[in-house]
């Protein structure tokens, strides 16, 4: 562990002031499930934590009619997956929130933290991408919005500046006859980092695919939105052959690495399998039905 200063501001303005004064070694603290470990294991130089959990703007979540869903960046996972509106309309967020770490982690871990940590294998980012999420950010120079698909720039790297704070994530209301699904593959059933994870979103017009979004994690330096897949299947009749053919595109779309969690060959195979499974489940959900 390193010696760190701890601040608990009660407003965004105050938090940004502390971050600006301390410089890049001051880190925003939400659930702390990543940054406290980084400080303890000295994998990052951290001299101060700015705990934002007492700032009302970043806590809680709500659905406002047609305007969609807003989730405070520091809202813990358990509040998200216990929210009936999210369960009803954004089931892929539940898929992700449910499997982060373990139960104890989910009491603290947040979507904002998972996004800002910028892990290529993050379990919520593919979902946030396929749901066309937007990141609302405030810094010394005011507010800005970033599409989540553009947010991560490399392992542990994002567009967020050191004196900026991710306030909330926004998702538009899902279109009719649309569904989404996230599946992670891990060797165990709990407490693990994805070997591969895939989120798929689909909007159907009868048996025809009106539109789709597919994102994959743990196969590139950042989670990836795979427009090539969506382009390939758009406007076509849904069939298992179509999904098989689309899955073959993964051979050229991703070049995963060899590491302790998986081999390139196994990751490509898993990507194909998870793509087909998430698509089939998303279609089931687009009909208003539940998946197993």
């Amino acid at each position: 562990m390193q010696d760190v200063s701890y601040y608990r501001p009660s407003s965004i303005k105050e938090a940004i002031k502390i971050l600006s004064e301390h410089g890049p070694t001051a880190k925003v603290l939400a659930g702390g499930t990543d940054v406290i470990v980084q400080a303890r294991e000295r994998t990052k130089k951290i001299t101060a934590f700015v705990d934002i959990k007492k700032i009302p703007d970043v806590m809680g979540l709500g659905i406002e009619g047609h305007r969609g869903l807003t989730i405070g960046a520091a809202t813990p996972m358990y509040q998200i997956y216990n929210h009936s509106g999210v369960q009803e309309e954004y089931p892929a967020i539940i898929d992700s929130a449910n499997i982060i770490g373990g139960k104890a982690i989910q009491g603290r871990a947040s979507l904002g933290g998972n996004l800002c940590n910028g892990s290529p294998a993050a379990d919520t980012i593919p979902t946030l991408i396929v749901l066309e999420g937007t990141a609302n950010i405030i810094g010394p120079n005011g507010e800005r919005k970033i599409a989540i698909e553009d947010f991560c720039t490399g392992p542990g790297k994002t567009l967020l500046q050191h004196d900026e704070i991710l306030i909330s994530l926004h998702f538009k209301r899902p279109a009719p006859f649309s569904g989404s699904r996230f599946i992670r593959f891990i060797p165990r059933n709990e407490m693990d980092i994805a070997v591969v994870n895939v989120a798929s979103q689909i909007q159907m017009d009868g048996n025809k695919i009106e539109s789709s979004r597919v994102a994959i994690g743990a196969c590139a330096p950042t989670p990836l939105l795979l427009k090539e897949i969506s382009n390939f299947i758009q406007g076509k009749e849904l069939s298992q052959d179509l999904l098989e053919n689309a899955a073959e595109l993964f051979n050229n779309l991703i070049t995963p690495i060899e590491d302790m969690r998986g081999s390139p060959e196994h990751r490509v195979d898993l990507a194909k399998t998870l793509f087909k499974r998430t698509m089939n489940d998303a279609v089931i959900r687009s009909n208003g039905e539940k998946v197993q």
Binding site: M1, Q2, D3, E41, R42, G102, F185, P187, R188, N189, E190, M191, D192, I193, V195, D259, M260, R261, G262, S263, E265, H266, D269, L270, T273
Partner: protein, 766 residues
């Protein structure tokens, strides 16, 4: 959920019940004192600098900047260790050589594995000690790491220890003279032989030869290693630590620190798991030396990554086995070649694995060629039935294949070859007494699980058995009777798995008193006689014998005192099973009234006993497991798990079942999930519990248990050691279940999704 106990005929009052453990309340409320709870005035905190390289010459260590950091009180390197004499100490389950031990606790000329201790710092707080580590300059000359037994034994690979000679092992744990065959990086060779191998194979109708590999597995105890040392001005050293054997710790510290044994006092704290891994010591000598230098107590506590990097896991193995059988299933010959990684220093459990793998069977012609191989990985330590899970994986996989090829039921073929009284073992000795292989297999055959239908073609069922011997070794026990009729019981056995309860129950049964009236305690090295480690499945067995002997001695004295009190002859006093003493003319006194009599007849009575039992038995376990295989991803899910085991006599059946369930869980971890992942430079990439994957409660279902009680003739209540054998069968049982489900035989464990998907792809190509 099923828990079955096949009762022994004799009935007891206390034995066989399931009381709460005496240490339970303190443990669940957090009041129990573990090593991390030690706080002493003026205490310093120690940390260790570890090698970032797997194999490197240490050219220079400059500690001056670290020493100059405010708050840093001591920085030590290998040079600060008292000269290490080259003396072997018998440590029960493992052999420790002082020279190797000195080098292991602080590297001398070379760093021999990633995580090898290079220097240690003591400072006024742990953060400053960590900061100081970064200020120690070490100049390394990086050498090519040796990372597998095959590379290590290659003629082109230099010896990691240039002066080491390959020696012949006389017995499993005893090194002999230099061998005629010198193999690079092989510390020792052991050959076990029985019968005529060539003649045996000539009789065979079918011969199967297969190669197997298993990974490096860590014991995964919850509590990380810790130790606090206080070196007084009069050269008396007190050490508080988490250990499986505080007397061994005392003896090793005395030799390593060159302090007389009488001046070292070791106080065992509560222990949060060991499984064999808390027999060796790592930081305690460093804490002691830094305490000597500073005059302050020094506390050291490993982080989890240090536990994985630098303590002793079990050996990764390469095993080749050839088995010949007749068409009727009779195994006529078996030949095994076992090369076990010992890590940076000699001492893998290859001999134990080789001896145990054939123990369940009666095979007339046997050979096991065992090699103990040095590699640039942490020095291996004992881990629950050391060396045997890997060896059993090999033989039990081949027997499953034999059964399939000969179209014989897997239990029937095992029954046909089962060892029984009079069978010779691989080292030519008679099989241990009271062996229960046939009883075990009969019970397995009768389980509901074995006979249940498989509901889905992707589900497979596997079975395997395994063996492990009990250690005897020395135990001491002492008891005294309080004036209120309660009894203080002191032993030298650290309580890892409920030993306070199992020993108190044996004393209560002997004396005919309630379990609650016994107050068991673990005594430090100054307070009771030498007692060997809690390990080797020995404590409830061996320390149990000592406790029963203490009970019998107390009974004799009680009879004498009561006779004195009643003014009759001792032969007229009858000590009843319920602890009531009766004499002529309706004279009667309950045990609770004894205290008053004692105070009027000379005071408290006490008794002690030392035992070193020679009667050693082996225990046998069986695992039946159902798995479901996802052929698209290679993932295996455990659906159902049943374990059967001969336990001799279950003193506390719930704790026996817990031992079995825990062992099964660890065995499944070895089969499917766990392994050290090294890169090609020998850097351990998964030194965390995130990526060193132990199974969680989501991965392994409740294991149903059947306890078979075939009494051990060498123990007054028939106890056999139960703790280790359950880890032996699951590796092969899971592999056999996978074959049953999808038709591929895993020969490398863990068969994680990546490995299984490769096997499945090969199958689908055919």
């Amino acid at each position: 959920m099923v828990s079955t106990q096949k009762k022994a005929d004799k009935t007891y009052k206390v034995i066989g019940t399931r009381p709460v453990r005496p240490d339970g309340l303190d443990k669940v409320t957090g009041r129990a004192k573990y090593g991390a709870d030690i706080q002493l005035p003026g205490m310093l905190f120690g940390r260790v600098l570890r090698s970032p390289h797997a194999h490197a010459i240490i050219k220079k260590i400059d500690t001056s900047k670290a020493l100059a950091l405010p708050g840093v009180k001591s920085v030590i390197t290998h040079k600060d260790l008292p000269t290490a004499a080259d003396i072997a100490l018998d440590l029960g389950e493992t052999t420790s050589n002082m020279k190797w031990l000195c080098d292991k606790v602080l590297a001398a000329e070379k760093a021999l594995f990633h995580g090898h201790a290079i220097a240690a710092v003591a400072a006024v707080d742990p953060h400053i000690a960590e900061d100081a580590l970064a200020l120690i300059d070490v100049e390394y000359e990086i050498l090519e790491p040796v990372l597998s037994v095959h590379t290590a034994m290659d003629k082109k690979t230099p010896n990691i220890h240039p002066n080491m000679k390959t020696v012949d092992m006389i017995a499993r744990f005893q090194a002999g003279e230099p061998s005629k065959v010198q193999i690079n990086n092989v510390a020792s060779i052991l050959d076990l032989e029985l019968g005529d191998l060539d003649a045996g194979f000539k009789e065979a109708d079918i011969i199967i030869e297969r190669e197997f590999e298993t990974g490096t597995y860590h014991q995964g105890y919850i509590e990380s290693h810790n130790g606090t040392a206080q070196w007084n001005e009069n050269d008396e050293v007190t050490v508080w630590l988490s250990t499986q054997g505080h007397f061994n710790a005392r003896d090793v510290l005395s030799k390593l620190l060159q302090v007389p044994m009488s001046k070292v006092k070791v106080i065992p704290m509560e222990i949060g798991g060991g499984f064999g891994g808390k027999i060796p010591m790592y930081m305690e000598p460093l804490a002691a030396i830094m305490s000597k230098q500073t005059g302050k107590p020094v506390k050291m506590h490993m982080q989890r990554d240090e536990v994985l990097l630098a303590t002793g896991p079990t050996s990764a193995t390469y095993i080749k086995v050839k088995v010949g059988a007749k068409n009727d299933g009779t195994i006529v010959a078996a030949d095994a070649y076992l090369a076990y990684e010992s890590g940076a220093y000699p001492g893998s459990p290859v001999g134990a694995g080789a001896a145990s793998m054939f123990l369940p069977y009666n095979i007339a012609n046997l050979r096991a060629h065992c090699l103990d191989v040095i590699v640039n990985k942490p020095h291996t330590a004992a881990y629950r039935a050391p060396g045997t899970p890997a060896a059993a994986f090999a033989i039990e996989s081949i027997i499953d294949e034999l059964a399939e090829k000969l179209e014989i039921d897997p239990i029937t073929i095992r029954m046909h070859n089962a060892a029984e009284e009079g069978t010779r073992t691989s080292d030519g000795r008679l099989a241990p007494a009271s062996l229960a292989v046939k009883e075990l297999l009969e019970e397995a055959q009768a389980t509901e699980h074995w006979n249940a239908e498989l509901s889905d073609p992707s589900i497979g069922r596997g079975i395997a058995i395994g063996a492990w011997g009990n250690a005897g070794l020395e135990s001491n026990a002492y008891a005294s009777i309080n004036s209120d009729g309660t009894i203080n019981l002191n032993t030298g056995s650290v309580d890892i798995g409920g030993q306070r309860a199992s020993l108190a129950m044996q004393l209560a049964e002997t004396l005919g008193v309630d379990y609650d009236s016994i107050k068991p305690q673990v005594s430090d090295t100054d307070s009771i006689g030498y007692t060997a480690v809690t390990g080797g499945s020995r404590t409830t067995f061996a320390s149990g014998i000592a406790v029963v002997e203490v009970g019998n001695k107390l009974k004799e004295q009680i009879i004498d005192r009561v006779a004195t009190f009643w003014e009759i002859d001792a032969s007229q006093v009858h000590y009843g099973d319920d602890g009531t003493l009766n004499g002529p003319e309706d004279k009667s006194i309950k045990f609770s009234g004894i205290g008053k009599i004692l105070s009027r007849t000379g005071g408290t009575i006490q008794a002690s006993a030392t035992v070193k039992p020679n009667t050693q038995v082996a225990t046998f376990g069986c695992h039946i497991v159902d798995v479901k295989v996802d052929e698209e991803t290679g993932k295996v899910d455990i659906l159902r798990s049943t374990a059967l085991q001969d336990v001799g006599k279950a003193i506390h059946p719930a704790y026996v079942e817990g031992q079995i369930q825990g062992g099964i869980l660890q065995g499944i971890g070895m089969a499917l999930y766990e392994e050290y992942y090294y890169d090609d430079k020998g850097i351990l990439k998964n030194a965390s519990l995130l990526d060193y994957r132990m199974p969680t409660s989501y991965d392994v279902p409740f294991t149903e248990t059947t306890l078979i009680e075939k009494p051990n003739p060498g123990h007054p209540f028939g106890v056999k050691g139960v703790g280790e054998v359950p880890i032996v069968p699951p590796l092969a049982a899971v592999a056999n279940a996978i074959y049953n489900a999808v038709g591929v035989r895993p020969n490398i464990l863990p068969v994680n999704p990546r490995r299984l998907s490769v096997l499945l792809k090969e199958k689908n190509k055919k």
